[in-house]
Subunit: 166 residues, 2 copies
DNA sequence: GTACAGTGGTTACAATTGAAACCAATGTTA
DNA sequence: TAACATTGGTTTCAATTGTAACCACTGTAC
């Protein structure tokens, strides 16, 4: 429908932006498609939102965390964590206990039920990841790993040290 | 704060998910950080949301599109496009004219002002992209390009043909 | 012609999200 | 000890987003 012939690969004006090749845009499309697909898979089965599943995924690996430590681990904001935690408590997927040493702090863990759900979702998630990278060679997978790591470092610097030029 | 020593690279239990290495998660964190940083840069200066800027970016390259064609190009949904278009009209960043051949269809274009803004944002966006990939070698940049393309194809198949196993 | 399906686009309403205000407990300074 | 800043976490309210219903117009079948 859209005539592309006037913008051949070899001659792009510098003052034009080829959105379909613009990395931030491609990352956004890719990430949204992937997250939506996966969350449909487990969301329907276990009534989990993306933030809630993330909290479970972290607690599955690192027990005895507080909400603040979850914030630190996930880069999610504290309100999102708070809501995810309260919905997980309603589902009985996690437990919460007071820290006697600091009565503001509340220690979170997967419940028995939560561990069961976790154990069922993990292979599902891994299956999606495997399917996603199925068309990559093993060299490409290693390359991707290193590249993403570098990009994450850079993007984190932006959020910590402020933006370019400012 | 979190003790990582009990999960060395070399020995990960298969029934655990190392979220910080899980590709969908990393993509999400990366994409959010990048989009937020960039949109802060142009959003503050030009009162543009991410969807609105995307519409401008497409119209800057492909004039005379209708809203439906924007949907096709961007993979955004039609409501988001409609809202972006109406806010851009308010800003006088785009123009809208009826298609005499089909009175439902409305043809969109950057206005004079819109072209000026576009011309100022494009280098800004490119600067961010360059900064993001600054730590990649030129080989890595090419690798990334090809890899993302493959991943996008796969993820698109998910959204078109339904999920794995279903 | 009139019916009726399909398309372009907007509106309405509910769910999700984010920013800021807030409460309670702790730490720090004097 | 009293004052005040800090931290952990929740609530409130407004902005953003997604789904579905909707209106206007077009194309096709009869």
């Amino acid at each position: 429908m859209i005539d592309n012939q006037n913008t051949p690969e070899t001659a792009v004006k510098q003052d034009e932006l080829r959105l379909e090749k613009f990395l931030p845009y491609r990352l956004s499309v890719l990430s949204n498609r992937v997250s939506n697909a996966i969350s449909q898979a487990y969301g329907a089965r276990f009534h989990l939102t993306i933030p809630a599943w993330r909290v479970m995924a972290i607690l599955g690996r690192f027990p005895d965390l507080s909400a603040a430590e979850l914030v630190e681990q996930t880069a999610m904001d504290k309100v999102a964590i708070s809501r995810a935690v309260s919905s997980l408590l309603k589902n009985d997927y996690i437990t919460r206990s007071e820290d006697p040493a600091d009565r503001r702090r509340q220690v979170l863990n997967l419940s028995e039920l939560g561990r069961e759900v976790y154990a069922r979702i993990v292979p599902l998630a891994q299956q999606y990841e495997n399917d996603l990278i199925a068309s990559l060679s093993s060299e490409e997978r290693e390359q991707l790993d290193g590249i993403i790591e570098k990009l994450l470092v850079r993007a984190k610097e932006w959020s910590e040290r402020g933006l370019i030029d400012e």
